[in-house]
């Protein structure tokens, strides 16, 4: 059992890598799609709406399987340059996770943008600021502050979501736990250790978000 601890800690790094990559890409995707969603262009609006509808409406496991096993069935895709990325389980997982969290993030940001009170924008306009200036200096900071609690939640959900990576051969925390169980036959002990590590990571994320919430409130 003791000898498994370094393996679990190394696997925790893989889990954190999966989480940070998908959160960064997801935030980027989320920002773009939330802007599309609040834009007045009907086409952009509809694209964003259906993207978020599809990715929030289907299980992440199914999305991961479609990207990992499904796309690999297409011969033309395997012969294209995309295969360099799609061949690797790591990137398949990142793509699935980023698209999924991107959909949720776009909704979080959209509601934050839409609930900014008109007064803020009018204040900016009366100062003679350009639309872009208003967006960058007023709308974005206010939106971030408003969406922090919900976004923190999303990061924690994604942390737990990364455990699905073990279903496509990635040796993350869950994957390594299952592997250790298959040789030691001690599921309870191993899962308790793995669960504690996830809990500790959640604690760190939670503290980080709380800290930032306070920071923004003070301003």
């Amino acid at each position: 059992m003791i000898t498994s601890v370094p393996k679990l800690l190394y696997a925790t790094l893989i889990t954190l890598k999966l989480l940070s990559f998908s959160i960064i890409f997801g935030l980027f995707i989320g920002l773009i799609f939330s802007l599309m969603r609040i834009s007045k262009n009907t086409l952009l609006n509809k694209i964003s709406y259906y993207y978020s509808y599809i990715f929030r409406g289907t299980p992440m496991l199914v999305q991961l399987f479609i990207i990992y096993f499904g796309l690999a069935q297409l011969d033309w895709l395997r012969e294209s340059f995309l295969w360099v990325i799609l061949k690797e389980p790591f990137w398949c997982a990142i793509i699935a996770f980023s698209l999924n969290t991107g959909a949720y993030t776009s909704e979080i940001l959209r509601s934050a943008f839409q609930t900014i009170s008109k007064g803020y924008i009018e204040a900016g306009e009366s100062l003679g600021l350009s639309k872009f200036k208003i967006f960058v200096t007023i709308q974005i900071p206010v939106a971030i502050k408003q969406s922090l609690p919900a976004y923190g939640n999303e990061i924690i959900l994604m942390l737990k979501g990364t455990s699905l990576a073990s279903t496509v051969t990635l040796m993350d925390l869950t994957g390594v736990s299952k592997f250790i169980i298959s040789t030691t036959y001690k599921p309870v002990e191993v899962f308790i250790v793995a669960g504690s590590i996830y809990l500790f990571l959640t604690f760190l994320i939670h503290s980080f978000i709380k800290y930032n919430e306070k920071k923004y409130e003070a301003k």
Binding site: F69, A72, T167, T169, K178, I181, S182, Y185, P187
Partner: protein, 285 residues
Amino acid sequence: MRKLSKTIISLVAVFFLLANNTLADKIKIGTEGAYPPWNSKDASGKLIGFEVELAQELCAIMKHECTIVEQDWDGMIPALLMRKFDAIMAGMSITEERLKTINFSQGYADEVASLAVMKGSSLANLQTVKSLSLSKKGGDVKKTLDQLKNALAGKTIGVQTGTIHQNFLESGDVGKVNVRKYKTQDEVNLDLAAGRIDAALAAAVAFTDYAAKSGKPVVLVGPTFSGGAFGNGVGVGIRKGDSSSTVGKRDAKILKDFNKAINTARKKGIISKLAIKHFGFDASM
């Protein structure tokens, strides 16, 4: 009102006592249902395959009522230990490693393991001896292992997790290869066909069965493996029993009954017949 609830409670209690008694006598057999032709599922989700039919035959010989339940491979032995079922019939080879934790009946079938690649792969032309028994020691074995070491260096090979095939690749006998572990053999096959892995290692029949059903150009290469890390045939996995407790005695009896039933089935030619039906050759032992 109070009288009524008392009656209901006692009726429920009696029901559970009775139900428990009858259930305790039934032998529950765990299988994976995802390792054809050993065990698999048909389109309607019914368990089928060599071991499912053999289990029914053995239970008939033991004159015991049995139920066959499904369990993922990676949780098979933990589930047995936690008494989710009483016996494993899931193409599980009898190995030293597993014998430390559970008991096995005598073997009922045995068949070799093999590497598989896609037709046209650089490994497809690998020339070695036809069969390799790791229980034998000598120059021939070493020579073949060295050949494999050279051919497989730096390659990615897929296996199902927690199998003899994984143990063999990680033992270092064939040098340093990247072992990619999958939950089921189906997923190994899919990624072999997709080209994500250079080769796969599993029971030879698992690949021939997949090639036949999917029409994909999967070919066997290298020697067939047996002995050593590959164990001594496939047997029924049963909890280690002892005479100190009722459940321990029951486990010991189940082991004895299975051994007897396998003997009878072998003598009557039942195992051979089922093996030929499912494997295409006589894999009984």
